[in-house]
């Protein structure tokens, strides 16, 4: 059994130093890894990233992150990534990481993702260049996520987690106005998760959404935006599962 801690949308910056550190220092007793689901800063500046980095530096568990739209606001996402990486955070964008947790190989594939909406009510690659570019970007994020999940499977992962900032499903957006769903996520991310396979999908971004959802293929989805979980992080206990035919046996 693997203990996954996760939070998104912490929006740290100068003035919020030390806000989450006391809670993060309890991670050793309750989690094997910490996932950060984007929007770690307010404006995406290196100065804000330094606050985030110090908050998670030297923790006793691996820290894996994706960036969110706020972390792109100042067009300094490369510098933000570098600051976090220097503090030991593995920042994913279209790639994955395989961790050995007491003999269990846990793969995490990550992308920020993007919007577009959900099946039957979504944008498409048609019309103006801006519209086509919008959807193509989301599709590229989804394709990269699927590729990373497949690579983790080929590398022998026992468990796989898809980490995004934007939501793969509408379930976890309940509470947000339906009119803005296309700006909160895309079914393309869920399709990638279902086609490549995963044991859990974790995202943030939807502050007024809800925590629990599933993809059409049955993968559990958790919205860990801090305003949703209302604590420094949520913890999920995840056991390795072995698919046999149409059945799923639990062995963790």
């Amino acid at each position: 059994m693997i203990r996954v801690a996760a939070v998104g949308d912490i929006h740290l910056g100068p003035g919020s130093e030390g806000l989450l550190r006391p809670a993060f220092e309890t991670l050793e007793g309750c989690a094997d890894l910490l996932l950060l689901a984007g929007d770690l800063t307010r404006h995406g500046t290196p100065q804000e990233a330094h606050v985030v980095a110090e908050e998670v530096a030297r923790l006793p568990v691996p820290v894996i992150a994706v960036l969110g739209n706020h972390d792109y606001q100042s067009d300094r996402q490369t510098a933000v990534t570098r600051v976090l990486a220097e503090a030991g955070v593995r920042v994913l964008e279209g790639d994955g990481v395989l961790l050995d947790v007491d003999g269990t190989r846990v793969g995490i594939a990550g992308t920020k993702g993007f919007g577009g909406g959900f099946a039957g009510r979504c944008g498409s690659e048609f019309g103006e260049p801006e519209m086509k570019s919008f959807i193509r970007y989301t599709r590229r994020c989804a394709d990269d996520l699927a590729g990373a999940l497949r690579e983790l499977a080929e590398a022998g992962s026992d468990l796989r987690i898809a980490l995004t900032h934007f939501s793969p499903v509408a379930d976890t957006l309940a509470g947000e106005p339906p009119e803005i769903y296309p700006f909160l996520g895309s079914y393309l991310l869920a399709e990638a998760v279902d086609e490549a396979g995963a044991d859990l999908a974790v995202h943030g971004h939807a502050h007024l959404g809800t925590e629990h959802g599933t993809t059409a293929g049955g993968v559990r989805v958790r919205n860990v935006a801090m305003p949703v979980i209302d604590r420094a992080f949520a913890v999920y206990h995840l056991g390795a599962r072995e698919p046999i035919g149409d059945e799923v046996l639990h062995r963790g």
Binding site: P22, A23, M226, H237
Partner: protein, 84 residues
């Protein structure tokens, strides 16, 4: 009636300020409720909440408004979820 008098435009001007100013707060909802406006949501700190309300006071001057803006708990969880 000018746009200054129309609540729906005032709401959007407030949302633009919340997103564009230093606070960069896109996570609160601003909605027309009856003859007034409701601001609701959860923010990361007491300072952030105070800033949301200060900007709201300025931007919605002359319009009745109410708020239900709370602050996220920064403490560790008291439970976990079994997904096996």
């Amino acid at each position: 009636m000018t746009s200054i008098d129309l609540i729906e435009y005032r709401i959007e001007h407030l949302r633009e300020r919340l997103a564009g100013e230093e606070i960069a707060e896109l996570g609160v909802r601003v909605e027309a409720r009856g003859a007034g406006v409701l601001i609701r949501g959860s923010v990361s700190s007491g300072e952030c909440r105070a800033e949301v309300l200060r900007i709201t006071e300025e931007e919605l001057a002359g319009i009745p408004w109410r708020e239900d803006v709370t602050v996220c708990c920064p403490g560790p969880p008291d439970r976990s979820e079994e997904l096996s």
